[in-house]
């Protein structure tokens, strides 16, 4: 910062400082020195006054000394030759009878960042290590580290290192911690300070004397120590126990980290520690400082990866306050989604619903996405809310809802019909490219269920010239081709126009290439195109059934209490995976890859590895047809499955069966006894109908376990065996605990 007239100022100050009259008047002299410091802190270059300031350091006034030292430290590296002159004064002060002066001088001497200092400071530091005042020892210990960092490439002085290790036993707690800090820095290249058994136990016993900062640091150092035996481990844990509930969040969290690390072989101890720390963690989430609250939330999120139930009853603590910063609100929403269960779902959804109209579009979109995540388990309630939001006719909300719909049908195929109905009835179309892509994807993928789909798409094709985003154009191409495959009559003409425009007039190479690709593909014939373009309509993985797995603590404890999770670079792997799958473009790429084209799910049965069967859904059966066939046909196969019916929500059950291509026709609600379900599926040339039954007096063996009765037309025993084993494996997945059966 170049100051106008700075030279004038310096000249004037120099005149004043060298004036013998001023020097004689202590007060005036000091005032000028203060002035120099003030200019210095404002960024004015007053280094020219160095000589005058060095003179001023020869005084008995400690304040004046302090100010001059501050000045000297700042400019020493710029004026090394002049700084050497000051060193004599400083060395003299290091022998002063007042320990305060000794410490101050030693500290400032060590802070001179210039080469060649070592020879001057070594002797005072070594003397300082043995000083009787702890204040001086504290300074001297850190001085060792500073001295080392002045000459980083020289050999480590063994005697100093030994002396520092000995000083770990010093009666003053700050000296002990400073020794750790100094050793760590000096021995950086050799892996830092060594924590052996005597040192570890010594530190543990001194813990209560330390201030909170030092406690936190010692806890971090102790991460390096491995106890030899379980007895020793539990001794250490009981010494640390009280610190789990420290009033300083950073100490509590550091203790928890050490607990998790030490007890890695004792999951129950870890779980207990997490339980005990949950109260301080929750308290941090409600702290007055928003930054602490944020850090608390990030830690809670990590703990929830292994213990999702721990904070379940406290879900209200994660409701957002109106005036909270958005980074807190985002985290709270993420946590709320994880905490949803049957009891609180209504309240949580109500809460999230109110965030959807937030002034900040990002927050509103995040809230809508959160509802979408919950919809994977509680689709009905969520769909109502999302549909209601469309009625607000706000651009950013509509767009976010459409994107959420897209993700929802991908993960949760049983909601497709409802979504398609809503999308069909929705008048507004999204204005941003993300939203447009989502809508087009839905139209292309499920165009057969949205009656107005061709008209909506025609609107986009007509407006193609004004569309700027090439991602939207690509999505439009894919969607139009898919729609052509299921509704050729309505789409043929507009697809022709679209391809013509994209090939002849489009300037973006990627779009043109994509159009050419589809064009050539269509030349090969409709069936060929269908094979390549249509892929699975939902996520074939079973993640929706089992929900989130509880991860082992070892997955995250290494990053616990570090900066990573707060800086957002430690997204939990599942979120990362999901967001990758959420990208429609990468889905589109997958669809284009040959070899991934399989509409049928193939499962090998666990009972008989040779037996393979492929099931498919085919055209839906009406209730009447099913009933008629069920009454007409003979039962071919009856089997007791050996486990009770899954207690999952109806939606989940339906989704699960659908994933393995078994269609659910009807089932009795909730806990009615007897419980029945009717399902059907198709396999190579045959239609399989089945009834699941539990708790019927007349059917033997059905009190405790599910009984499945299968009818088929035409008969194919191989297919029945395959069907039963697929059914069994799905239902077992839904019965999480009894899966050993």
């Amino acid at each position: 910062m170049p100051y106008l007239g700075s030279e004038e100022v310096v000249k004037e100050l120099r005149r004043a400082l060298s004036n013998p009259n001023v020097q004689a008047d202590r007060l005036r002299y000091k005032n000028y020195i203060t002035k120099v410091i003030r200019y210095m802190t404002q960024g004015l270059d007053v280094s020219a006054l160095f000589m005058d300031m060095v003179k001023a350091s020869a005084t008995v006034d400690i304040v004046q000394k302090k100010l001059v030292y501050l000045y000297m430290c700042t400019y020493a590296s710029d004026k090394p030759d002049l700084a050497l002159l000051a060193i004599n004064t400083l060395r003299k002060d290091c022998a002063d009878p007042n320990p305060m002066v000794r410490g101050l001088a030693l500290r400032n001497m060590c802070n001179f960042r210039m080469p060649g200092m070592t020879e001057y400071i070594e002797q005072p530091i070594v003397a300082g290590l043995r000083d009787k005042a702890s204040y001086v020892r504290r300074v001297a210990v850190l001085g060792c580290a500073k001295m080392h960092s002045l000459q980083p490439n020289t050999e480590i002085d063994g005697t100093i290192v030994n002396e520092l290790y000995a000083l770990l036993r010093d009666p003053d707690p700050v000296v002990v911690v400073n020794c750790l800090r100094a050793l760590e820095e000096i021995l950086k290249d050799e892996g830092g300070v060594v924590i052996n058994k005597p040192i570890a136990h010594h530190l543990l016993n001194r813990m209560k004397d330390l201030d909170s900062w030092a406690q936190s640091e010692v806890l971090t150092f102790l991460l390096r120590y491995r106890p030899r035996s379980d007895d020793e481990l539990f001794d250490i844990l009981s010494l640390l126990d009280a610190f789990l509930l420290s009033s300083h969040a950073h100490v509590a969290v550091a203790t928890l980290r050490l607990f998790l690390h030490l007890a890695s072989a004792h999951p129950t101890v870890q779980a207990d520690a997490l339980l005990r720390t949950s109260a301080p963690l929750l308290a941090t989430c409600g702290a007055a400082s928003r930054e602490l609250r944020f850090a608390g939330l990030c830690h809670v999120q990590q703990v929830m990866r292994s213990q999702p139930g721990l904070f379940g009853t406290h879900y209200k603590r994660f409701f957002c306050g109106y005036s909270e910063p958005s980074y807190i609100k985002f985290r709270k929403m993420e946590i709320l989604v994880e905490l949803v269960n049957d009891e609180n779902v209504a309240l949580v959804l109500e809460e999230l619903r109110s965030y959807c109209t937030d002034v900040s579009p990002e927050l509103a979109q995040a809230a809508i996405a959160a509802i979408g995540r919950i919809a994977r388990t509680y689709s009905e309630k969520c769909l109502d809310i999302l549909t209601g939001l469309l009625g607000l006719k706000q651009d950013h909300i509509t767009s976010a809802v459409i994107q959420t719909f897209r993700d929802l049908v991908w993960f949760c195929p049983q909601s497709t019909a409802a979504v398609c109905q809503t999308v069909g009835a929705c008048v507004d179309s999204p204005q941003d490219s993300e939203g447009k892509q989502a809508l087009l994807w839905l139209l292309g993928e499920h165009g057969d269920q949205i009656s107005s789909a061709p008209y909506v798409m025609e609107g986009y094709i007509d407006g193609l010239k004004t569309e700027l985003s090439s991602a939207v154009k690509m999505e439009l191409l894919t969607a139009a081709v898919k729609m052509f495959l299921c509704r050729p009559a309505e789409t043929q003409d507009m697809l022709g126009r679209l391809l013509h425009y994209c090939i002849e007039e489009e300037s973006d190479v990627c779009v043109r290439d994509r159009a050419l690709l589809y064009y050539r593909l269509l030349q090969r014939g409709v069936e060929e195109t269908r094979k390549v373009v249509t892929g699975p309509k939902s996520d074939p993985s079973m993640s929706v059934l089992t929900g989130r797995q509880e991860e082992p603590i070892s997955e995250w404890d290494s990053t616990f209490n570090t900066l990573g999770p707060l800086a957002g670079c430690d997204l939990c792997p599942q979120t990362a995976a999901t967001s990758a799958a959420d990208q429609p473009s990468c889905r589109a790429e997958n669809e284009l890859l040959p070899g991934k084209v399989d509409t049928d799910v193939t499962l090998s049965s666990p009972d008989d590895a040779e037996e393979e069967i492929s099931l498919s859904l085919g055209p839906p059966l009406s209730h009447e047809t099913f009933e008629k066939m069920w009454l007409d046909l003979e039962t071919l196969h009856r089997q007791t499955l050996g486990f009770p019916r899954p207690r999952a929500a109806p939606d989940t059950l339906q989704a699960a069966l659908q994933l393995v291509k078994i269609q659910t026709l009807a089932f009795t609600p909730g806990d009615t006894v007897p419980w029945k379900a009717y399902i059907y599926t198709r396999s190579t040339e045959t239609l399989i109908l089945a009834e699941l039954l539990q708790g019927d007096q007349q059917a033997p063996g059905s009190d405790e376990s599910l009984v499945v009765s299968v009818k088929q037309q035409p008969v194919n025993q191989h297919a029945i065996r395959g069907f039963v084993s697929v059914l069994k494996s799905v239902l077992q997945t839904l019965n999480p605990i009894k899966s050993k059966n």
């Binding site: 501050l70 707690p173 209560k208 950073h250 409600g286 602490l292 608390g296 409701f319 109106y322 109209t357």
Partner: protein, 432 residues
């Protein structure tokens, strides 16, 4: 996002390299380096994040840059931006920065840009004592005050006359005491111990007045001026209320666990003895109710506002310092209201309506009523404004917590003792 190129996995050093103070307008007005000097340009990453966040409240606390982490807190319209070069526990740094801000507040009465600039020399002295080589050194206000005396008007006058300084001339005795939080050889002519039980209600009420969420955050602040080495025991009438507590390091935790009494050798002067949370909703009383109706008409670009506040569960005490703050939607241009009590003020720039009521009179409930005028042609606002309530109740801890007695051992004299209770609204919000 560039990967941090300094990965110090095995390094356990917690070091704060530098500190920058930046005001609301983005001016960097103070910098302090404890190790080598780091160029101000590192703050460009902060300014980038600051711009992206729009509101200063929304700047994320941890920002990654290619070579450093920037950890910042925002307090009293100042960003405290610390530069970190090694992996550190984030809570540690955040709490430390708050401690720095609290120390400034303690020394200068308030922590603002102007007071920091006015006292820049003391600020540097403090920062120098609080950290050495990047490691926390002296942060207890007790010990700091012995090293550097806080400025007072009287003292600066005396200093000017006598030429004495605001720096301790002797080695602080606290540094030699066996108990780190208490200095040795304390002497007072009047021995006194005062405790303030301060409770803040954090609550969210919905439209109909039902509690969506409520909890109490309580602290017990102490001002203990006792000679020698007193050993105190504080007991409560109803300690079972407290299940989620944390204490000052001086408190013997084992005795709390076994006997539910707080036994401690106090630091000298002001300190926070303990803090606690009460979140069981049936225990959290809501002292006031709010009846409100804020509506906007489809046509005519106007709206109506009608707010009444009344007492609910006040345990027979008077509610004071009542202030209602409404964040209005952007389209509200002005408010033409009539308050039966207190004064109101609508700031058309920040869109904040503040109604300062004062004391709540249960016989005559305060009411604020009138019309709002909206920007013409603008659509009816979608979101409903939220009400924030501020209030104070003297001589009451809303949780019902009561101190039973305070006993002193280890010293012969008889101290003066006193307990005060006060309840305040924390984050107290009513939805509309």
């Amino acid at each position: 996002m560039p990967v941090l190129d300094i990965t110090l996995k095995d390094n356990a050093l917690i070091m704060i390299h530098s500190l920058f103070l930046i005001n609301n307008a983005g001016d960097l007005f103070l910098e302090k380096h404890w190790k080598s000097v780091i160029s101000r340009s590192v703050c460009d990453y902060f300014f980038e994040a600051r711009e992206k966040a729009v509101e200063p409240d929304n700047v994320p606390p941890v920002i990654r840059t290619p070579h450093h982490y920037l950890i910042n807190i925002y307090r009293e319209k100042i960003f405290f931006v610390s530069v970190i070069q090694t992996e550190v526990p984030p809570l540690f740094v955040i709490e430390f920065l708050h401690r720095v801000a609290e120390t400034f507040q303690d020394y200068f009465g308030e922590c603002s840009e102007s007071t920091i600039k006015d006292n820049v020399v003391i600020v540097y002295e403090l920062l120098e004592e609080m950290l050495d080589n990047g490691f926390p050194l002296a942060t207890e206000s007790n010990i700091l005050k012995e090293l550097i005396r806080p400025p007072t008007i009287l003292r600066s006058m005396v200093n000017t006359i006598t030429g004495s300084s605001n720096v301790g001339e002797t080695l602080p005795t606290g540094q030699l005491s066996t108990i780190p939080w208490r200095r040795a050889g304390v002497k007072y002519t009047n021995n006194e111990a005062y405790f303030d039980v301060v409770e803040e209600i954090d609550a969210i009420l919905d439209k109909s007045g039902t509690t969506v969420f409520a909890e109490i955050q309580g602290v017990i602040d102490a001002c203990v001026k006792l000679s020698g080495m007193p050993d105190l025991t504080l007991s409560f009438m109803n300690p079972r209320l407290l299940d989620d507590v944390s204490f000052h390091p001086c408190v013997r935790y084992k005795r709390w666990e076994s006997e539910r009494v707080i036994s401690f050798v106090p630091p000298d002067g002001n300190f926070q003895l303990m803090s606690y949370h009460i979140s069981a909703q049936n225990l959290v009383a809501i002292p006031v109710y709010v009846k409100q109706n804020i509506s906007f008409f489809e046509t005519g670009s106007s709206g109506r506002l009608d707010i009444t506040v009344g007492p609910k569960q006040t345990m027979g005490k008077t509610v004071e310092g009542l202030v209602v703050t409404v964040h209005m939607p952007k389209v509200v241009l002005s408010a033409n209201l009539n308050a039966t009590q207190g004064t109101y003020n609508y700031d058309p720039v920040t869109k904040i309506l503040v109604w300062d009521i004062g004391k709540l009179n249960p016989q005559k409930l305060p009411n604020l009523k009138g019309s709002l005028s909206l920007q013409s042609g603008a659509p009816k606002p979608e979101e409903n404004p939220s009400l924030n309530i501020d209030l104070k109740i003297q001589q009451l801890a809303i949780s019902g917590l009561k101190v039973n007695r305070l006993d002193m051992y280890g010293e012969k004299y008889k101290p003066f003792k006193g307990v005060k209770y006060v309840t305040k609204a924390g984050k107290f919000q009513v939805r509309t």
